[in-house]
Symmetry: C2
Subunit: 159 residues, 2 copies
C-alpha cells in the first residue's frame, strides 16, 4: 500500500498536477445493458474521468462465473460507450487497492446492489454506491430470453 | 419524393451549406452487441455523421417481432455509443425513403446479411452493405443464453 496516501490525514491526497477527479468501477458487463450505461452516465456527472475495469474470463473462472460474451468483446463494448474514458482488465482480487493507488482515484463507485461490499477501500478513497436501474440486469435479461425461448413466441430478428 | 434529388442527374446532390457526409442505418438492436458497435465504427470511418434509426416496439409488432429490450432502452443504448451522432425512431415501412431525402443522406449502410434487400434506394443515395462480424448476432447470443440455461452451468453474476 502506498504510504503517501496517508500522509495528508483524513483529507484525500490528489496528485498535485492533476485537476480532474477520477472514479473507478468494476464489473463483468456480460450483456451490456441500460443499467450499465445509466450507472456510467451518473458516475461521469460526479467525476471528470471514469475508468472501468472489466473482469477477464480467467478471473471470472476463478470466481466460478462464465460470461456469454468473451472478454475482448466485453471490453470493446465498454470502450465504445461515450461515458467511459478508459477500460482496463481486472485480473485478480487484490487489484482494486492497487488501481485506486495507481490512478490516485477519488472514488470507487459501484451499483447499489453492492452496498457495503467494498467499504474496506474507504481508507484509500471514497466508496460510493449509486442506485441501480430497477428490473435491469444481465441475469434478468437472460431469464427473459430463456422464458421467451421456451414459450411459443417468435424471437426478434438478428438486427 | 423530393424532385430536387433528381435535378442533378446521376451525381448526388448535397445540400450546398453542408460539407460533411451523412450515413443512415436501421435496425432493432435488441441485445446491443459487438457486431453493432463494429458496424457503427466502420460506418463512421467512411462518413462524417451516422444517424441510426431504431425500430419502435409498435413497428416491430407489425413485422411480427418482439424485442426483449423495450424501445426507450434500445434507443438509450445506441445514444450512448460514441460512434453514433443521432438516433431516430423507425415507425413504418416507407420511412427510409423519407429519411434519405430529409437528411440528404449520402448513403444507406447495412450489414452484409442484408445484401440486396435495400437496392431500391440506389435512386436516392448510395446503398452500402458492410461485412458483418461473424458469429455475433442478437439471435446467436440468445441461443447461447438458452443453451447455457438448459445446461448445468452456473450463470454469470448480474454485474
Amino acid at each position: 500500500m502506498n504510504q503517501a496516501l496517508f500522509l495528508g490525514g483524513p483529507a484525500r491526497l490528489r496528485h498535485p498536477a492533476r485537476l480532474h477527479s477520477i472514479a473507478l468501477t468494476y464489473g463483468t458487463y456480460d450483456l451490456f445493458h441500460i443499467g450499465h450505461v445509466r450507472l456510467f452516465e451518473r458516475i461521469r456527472q460526479r467525476y471528470d474521468r471514469l475508468v472501468v475495469a472489466v473482469s477477464t474470463d480467467e478471473f471470472n473462472a476463478i470466481k466460478g462465473k462464465r460470461s456469454v460474451v468473451p472478454f475482448a468483446d466485453r471490453v470493446a463494448m465498454i470502450q465504445a460507450c461515450r461515458h467511459v474514458d478508459e477500460v482496463i482488465a481486472e485480473t485478480d482480487w487484490d487489484q482494486k487497492a492497487r488501481d485506486i493507488t495507481a490512478y490516485g482515484a477519488d472514488a470507487l463507485v459501484m451499483g447499489s446492489d453492492w452496498t457495503g461490499h467494498f467499504d474496506e477501500f474507504r481508507t484509500l478513497c471514497d466508496v460510493v454506491y449509486l442506485p441501480r436501474t430497477e428490473h435491469v440486469s444481465s441475469t434478468e435479461l437472460k431469464t427473459d430470453i430463456v422464458s421467451r425461448a421456451l414459450a411459443p413466441t417468435p424471437m426478434a430478428h438478428p438486427t
